[in-house]
Symmetry: C2
Amino acid sequence: MPPVIDTTRERAHGLDQDDPLAQARAAFVVADPQLIYLDGNSLGRLPKAVFGRIQQVVQEEWGVGLIRSWNAGWWEAPRRLGEMIAPLVGAAPGEVMVSDSTSINLFKLATAAINLRPGRNRVITDEFNFPSDLYVLEGIVRFLGNRHQIIRIGADDHDIVPDLDELESAIDENTALVTLSHVTFKSGYLYDMRAITDMAHRKGALVLWDMSHSVGAVPIGLDGCDADFAIGCTYKYLNGGPGAPAFLYVNAARQEEVVSPIWGWWGEARPFDFELDYQPGAGPHRFLTGTAPMLSMLAVEAALPLVLEAGIERLRQKSVALTEYAIELTDARLLPLGFVLGSPRDPNRRGSHVSLRHPDAYRINRALIEDTHVIPDFRAPDNIRLGFAPLYTTYGEVWEAIDRICRVMSERLFEKYSTGRLGVT
Amino acid sequence: MPPVIDTTRERAHGLDQDDPLAQARAAFVVADPQLIYLDGNSLGRLPKAVFGRIQQVVQEEWGVGLIRSWNAGWWEAPRRLGEMIAPLVGAAPGEVMVSDSTSINLFKLATAAINLRPGRNRVITDEFNFPSDLYVLEGIVRFLGNRHQIIRIGADDHDIVPDLDELESAIDENTALVTLSHVTFKSGYLYDMRAITDMAHRKGALVLWDMSHSVGAVPIGLDGCDADFAIGCTYKYLNGGPGAPAFLYVNAARQEEVVSPIWGWWGEARPFDFELDYQPGAGPHRFLTGTAPMLSMLAVEAALPLVLEAGIERLRQKSVALTEYAIELTDARLLPLGFVLGSPRDPNRRGSHVSLRHPDAYRINRALIEDTHVIPDFRAPDNIRLGFAPLYTTYGEVWEAIDRICRVMSERLFEKYSTGRLGVT
């Protein structure tokens, strides 16, 4: 006999009452309590502290301090924010810098990594990876003279879990680099970072992890796994604001040998000597490029304490509980309506979002947004992603979202929409 | 008999009364009227409109709109801002994009340009150029396999004007690219864009201009000169805020053949199809990379109307008048104190700043900042730069700055400081 699932709203409220992180939500702007926002894995909510901080940065630091503010905290921001992020990703001081976008950080680190293995011509990734990461890799190969081959471990539209045997056999003595998304953006599959890193290292390949969909929701131990390189995003679970600068990690053991392809003055050893010949700065510092966008940078700094104070272990516990609860309700209420679970059932292999597949997913997603005030997002061909940000998503919101999906189906609210495209990663 | 120079404060006030742009200053935050800010060529003042706009972006667009704001103006910002900048640089619609930093834009465009001339192995620049630009070029050459040679037309520390004959003879049939700063950051020399572009084109070389120190102060006619590529900064005379995103220009005639080395998803033809293989977007769109930092980006948008409404011709007239006046006062009052003019005397060959050289320049600069409330900046080995932003610098401030320099010298205020380094480009 299957376990009896309590699908009542009261159960959700009980879970919220017992939630040790329930108070964290109060630190965010929740302008419309009726809106169920399940896209914090794409753009995190606005922390209240950011609003005041940005007013201060603009009015006082720029308006009054003017150029003097570069020497009163701005210039050091990439390193200072890197040190704040380091404990979230299991890095030591001096291994993380905030800089540029994830795409540019991938470009710099993947190029540097490939150049560390000059005799090897294969780069391994998979089709679960962000298309944006695959594009950057393609561009690198072209600019290095088409001497490398990108091997993408295949994935069908409906695959949830990668073929680890195929991955293992693809990594060989000609492999320079293995680069994967730690949590895949569509199914939410969570790679075993240690196992894959070890797998690559056994063949002498380097590893670069994209942590955009894991940082802030999943504990990460980069140093513990001896990962070589990593990049990550600050505007998803770290709530740094739209397009906020990304971060990069370079393992201390690899720092002195790597060379960035972009020799930026912010990464130069002594930029205020204005020497005409470039000398790289120490460690990950050399991966800084040009002047960083300070308003966006300092918004990240104001947002980070929320994740740090909640603690990544407690965030992970709540994240798992939220996704488990969403899957329970999906099993009970949505599978009978034609939905299929598009995410792993094993919480140890799942990040902080749950994908629901349905042939009408695009239209259902649109009806959720426009008719029922739920914001998930859609990923082709048939995924509705429900992102759960453990700092502010409540169990009540999970229940309400599933209930509104049922309403969209029972009232056929989606049928008035045609197919199309909408949304930003 | 030399002309009689009126060095009185009253003359400055008269010039301010006759200034047709005098009202423009009211659009900026001037927190401390005693502070003479002559570093707008490094970080422009805060426009009042930016403060309100950023509050709106944070509180309403991020806080309330959340992910929906990407489809309500954010996503289109790089192109929209590019179209605003286009008339300032003599570009047509579809030629300018706001993206990344000047260093990264130089990396992308110079790499693309060099690859358009595969049989040629020389890149010509000069030692008047930003060291930051020279670093990026060095990195590109290494990244492309050390097959190219960078020729830097030499300049001694005290050279004001480049050797155009040497430049002309350096450009040959093996030259792929000529890249220079339109206004040089130290002496403020203004290159004749048309003459140099023609000089390069006669040998079949491409040209890339760095307009960081000219845009917003000097009229620029990129299309009129048939320049190939250009980059520029938004946080100097455009007042976009600390580290605000830079811009890039690709001449329409070169757009379809160029390939960026960084294949970013923002530059992809149809990113929301999530195809695994990259297709470049049209024109300069393909030079976009990752997600742009929206707070910093939208600050630029709020700042640009001030320059556009003043009109670049009127800004140039005032800029020339300010630098002429500063040089008059320098001749009359500073040369006798051991200063040497470090900028061209011909206003047609001069940007919007004036460099003053002195053996004690570093210490004098420091005394100006700390003892007399004037903010110029220092550039090694012996330059004090006085930057004049025609939107808000007054003739009274020019007079006051020169007068305070005289006071620093007469009271020997600089002698208590030792040498060292301070300041950000």
